[in-house]
């Protein structure tokens, strides 16, 4: 399982109700259902992922996050999770508002564009970074809103969003102490647990 998905599980309570935005193949919800008796619903737009999630026995609703969450009621979920999808949204800040309206708590993970490799790539080569982790060219990419750890915390500050927990995953795909001392420089993936 992707490390950010493993990392966030302790923040999700047993028997809770979870909405997973961009649930992919449903792996997280399947695990949470088996191990924590979580009742979950995933939102997904990719047809192949929807079929995979259904076949896993995960409840999935075909839904485009860019239209918002207007059809979900206030505080209807204990936790709203969105992993590695923030950077693909047309209006990421509005979706975060919506997540905090629908869920009592939220978890957001995203690729940290402040990582030294991105800085080095851009600074040294003067071109948009392309890596194994982010393999897209600038003109053909689902990732249209990159941000850094600092950017995300500034947004939280501006919106008075409480950061309950945060962590970064380093280049060695672990929660290394060094990366967590310099998260914006050494964090490849940022992981935030937030609430209103």
């Amino acid at each position: 399982m992707r490390f950010d998905l493993t990392l966030i599980q302790p923040w999700i309570n047993a028997n809770s109700r979870v909405l997973d935005l961009g649930c992919g193949d449903g792996m997280l919800l399947e695990t949470l259902s088996k191990e924590k008796n979580v009742s979950g619903i995933g939102l997904e737009i990719d047809p192949d992922n929807i079929t995979l999630a259904l076949a896993r026995g995960v409840n999935v609703i075909e839904h485009d996050l860019n239209v918002g969450l207007g059809n979900f009621r206030d505080d209807s979920f204990d936790m709203v999770v969105m992993t590695l999808a923030l950077q693909t949204l047309r209006y990421p800040h509005l979706v975060i508002d919506e997540m905090l309206r629908v869920g009592r708590e939220c978890i957001v993970t995203f690729p940290n564009f402040g990582h030294w490799r991105s800085r080095w790539y851009l600074g040294h080569r003067g071109k948009m970074p392309v890596s194994k982790f982010l393999p897209y060219t600038w003109y053909d990419t689902p990732n249209i809103h990159f941000c850094t750890v600092k950017d995300f915390e500034a947004l939280c500050d501006e919106k008075n969003i409480r950061i309950l927990n945060s962590s970064v995953i380093g280049a060695d795909n672990s929660q290394s102490p060094l990366a967590n001392r310099f998260p914006n420089l050494l964090g490849v993936t940022a992981v935030y647990h937030i609430s209103k």
């Binding site: 619903i41 259904l54 979900f72 009621r73 209807s76």
Partner: protein, 394 residues
């Protein structure tokens, strides 16, 4: 068991093969929602697959407006047409008859053998005609429940239906919450829109204004309001297709005649689409009963899932205990994706287990009958969990 042994020379290996419809007679009165009762009634049905020993693998198929019991397979070797949902029911198909026991019935009020307006009214010795009691969707659920008891099934693995069939499936979930584990609702709605009711009214007017209608007593006059019924079907048919679908299928192709200037008379000109609609109308008017059509369209119009739950669908669905799968098709404007989304939103608000897909398809409302690859993939994937619940190794 209605199923004959699979025929060896049936070309389709995934077909249920030759099926023989059966008939059951119910002696006890069936109390109807309108306040009247049917003193006794017959149900014509077909079954596919085998009921397992603990009777846990039963699936009920609910048919739509013009549907009937013949959902899969053929009635004879040289039958040109298969059942109306042969694309989805059979060995290895989404509703896998190697695993499930499938019951498909002709609803009361129908005209394919179950008690309906063409049956004899025991009080008069004449066909019921327009005197047949008006029906609601829940009356079908009640009669389907009697069938369930007949087979000794206490819980369906799933109740499945498209369009009006989906409405019955949802009604099952509210009326008999313990009697089903899954409710699969395809191209349906919690109530019809004004536009939908308007189309149904045009269809009804076409029938009732036919000179041969005789206020519904055409059988006593030994005639049929064929023209009216054909017109009703033609209007209906347009609403089941999408504009793009019609464009692809017919375009402006001419069946006969010539529209080039100076070619003489235009009188012989007939567009393909005209010919197609006429054919559909005529075929239908020869095989369907006009009073049944009136009765079915009214049951559709009157259906309102949440009426007795303060018009709050989330409140209604709180009574359900099963898991739901909802599907819609992008070009379906008769039962648009937005109607399915309303069902899904209400189910989420009621804290129910629900999945939803919106299938890209050119076929309009008819798409639910067509084996569109993604539709089949999604259907297979969802049915996998029903198989797992039955303990089937996959």
């Amino acid at each position: 068991m209605t199923q004959a042994p699979p025929s060896t020379n049936t070309a389709d290996q995934n077909s249920v093969g030759i099926v023989v419809p059966q008939k059951l007679h119910f002696d006890q009165p069936l109390q109807l929602a309108c306040g009247r009762a049917l003193p006794a009634h017959d149900i014509v049905y077909e079954t596919y697959g085998e009921l397992n020993t603990d009777k846990s693998n039963g699936i009920l198929i609910c048919h739509a407006l013009s549907g009937h019991h013949h959902a899969a397979g053929k009635h004879s070797e040289d039958d040109r047409k298969t059942g109306w949902w042969d694309s989805c029911i059979g060995p290895g198909k989404p509703i896998d008859t190697n695993v499930f026991f499938v019951l498909s019935i002709n609803n009361i009020g129908g005209c394919h053998g179950s008690t309906g307006p063409t049956s004899i009214n025991p009080d008069t010795g004449k066909p019921w005609g327009p005197d047949f009691p008006s029906l609601r969707c829940r009356d079908w659920v009640e009669s389907q429940h009697l069938m369930m008891q007949h087979f000794g099934i206490s819980q369906w693995a799933a109740v499945i239906g498209g369009s009006l069939g989906g409405m019955q499936a949802m009604r099952w979930a509210l009326e008999y919450p313990d009697a089903l584990r899954h409710c699969i609702v395809i191209a349906s709605a919690m109530k019809l829109s004004a536009q939908n009711i308007a189309f149904n009214e045009i269809a009804r007017r076409a029938i009732t204004s036919d000179a041969n209608f005789y206020e519904g007593r055409y059988l006593e006059h030994q005639t049929l309001p064929k023209q009216g019924l054909a017109l009703a079907r033609m209007v209906g048919h347009i609403t089941y297709l999408s504009e793009d679908g019609m464009k692809q299928k017919f375009g402006r192709e001419l069946k006969t005649g010539n529209l080039s200037l100076g070619s003489g008379s235009d009188t012989a000109v007939e567009f393909e689409v005209e010919s197609y609609l006429r054919y559909q109308g005529e075929a239908f008017s020869g095989s369907f009963d006009a009073n049944t059509y009136l009765l079915m369209t009214k049951a559709l119009d009157y259906y309102d899932l949440a009426r007795e739950y303060n018009d709050d669908p989330a409140e209604a669905f709180k009574h359900a205990k099963c898991a739901f799968m909802v599907a819609s098709f992008t070009t379906d404007w008769r039962f648009a994706p937005a109607r399915s989304r309303e069902i899904v939103d209400a189910l989420v608000a009621a804290n129910k287990s629900v999945s939803y897909t919106e299938i890209e398809a050119d076929h309009g409302h008819d798409a639910f009958l067509i084996p569109i690859p993604r539709y089949m993939d999604v259907f297979h994937a969802y049915m996998k969990r029903l198989k797992q619940e039955l303990g089937h190794a996959l």
